[in-house]
Symmetry: C3
Subunit: 130 residues, 3 copies
Amino acid sequence: MQILKVRSHHREELVEFTDQVRQKLNESGATEGIVVLYVQHTTAGLTVNENADPDVPRDMLHALRTLIPQHGMDFRHGEENSDAHIKASIAGSSLTIPFAGGELLLGRWQGIFLCEFDGGRERKVIMMVR
Amino acid sequence: MQILKVRSHHREELVEFTDQVRQKLNESGATEGIVVLYVQHTTAGLTVNENADPDVPRDMLHALRTLIPQHGMDFRHGEENSDAHIKASIAGSSLTIPFAGGELLLGRWQGIFLCEFDGGRERKVIMMVR
Amino acid sequence: MQILKVRSHHREELVEFTDQVRQKLNESGATEGIVVLYVQHTTAGLTVNENADPDVPRDMLHALRTLIPQHGMDFRHGEENSDAHIKASIAGSSLTIPFAGGELLLGRWQGIFLCEFDGGRERKVIMMVR
């Protein structure tokens, strides 16, 4: 079990941390199996998506914000971050990614992102290799 | 492999069952690994989110209902529960949660919820420790 | 580790491939554990939902398209498929399904679907048994 730290700088941000996962996987010495990533927060999630064009993460946050704005949806939770809790559950709290030959089996355009919806903060992601 | 039973009482409800998972994990005697939870239904999902303020689950169901209402979206499925099928896929049918020292590695505010979208019913959740 | 190929024929389509997963699981000879499925693409996802009435997948794609249309949301990504990237992250890139007695523990109405959002194409899904 390993703990990764991922830092966000804005309220909403997709922060790629593929290299950190790759490095920890290499250190583990495991050759084939699954990497499980798990975010220990309720206003951030995890996703895999394109890491080539920064407009993809931008468009993703824009669409989610359009559908679920921070204000104006008759939310009752007093911290004014219900939108962040909801987006976190839509993204999901865990990722499971297979690896073989010691390498993550990511597709050509895929990167691993922390989905920050109530930052900027330092977030903890648990990594388990199985 | 274990079977958990989770009871809902309303059409839409987030039912926390963290304690059941914790108890079954303790019974398994396993110390480090992953817990996989899997819901065997197509109108209910699973999620991890805040279990402190009941307004968080309330706001989540409210937002999903606003975006995907039961009626008025030109759905064709005859059982009038297409909204529930869609929300179930958005939440997702499985959760993977790491544990170490025999304890679930949940964050301080995280609880494990069945997302009921077409209840009240008794739902079956498969639990596997690996 | 196995590679499954799933063929879509439309821009948006839910393509069931439960039988392929079942066959590969049988070939593996494993009796109890988890099947991890992982899609190596950023405009397609995976989900479990009802495979009995084709109106359920139809309604799911219809609702997602209503909420996140291909055009008109002020997207900036130049390939005009931001909607597909976003829907892929909402569905998710992986599934984890338990099995016992050599059989997938799917519910009675559950099937395994590739969620195609930018097809038709041949898509690669990694399958790992643990």
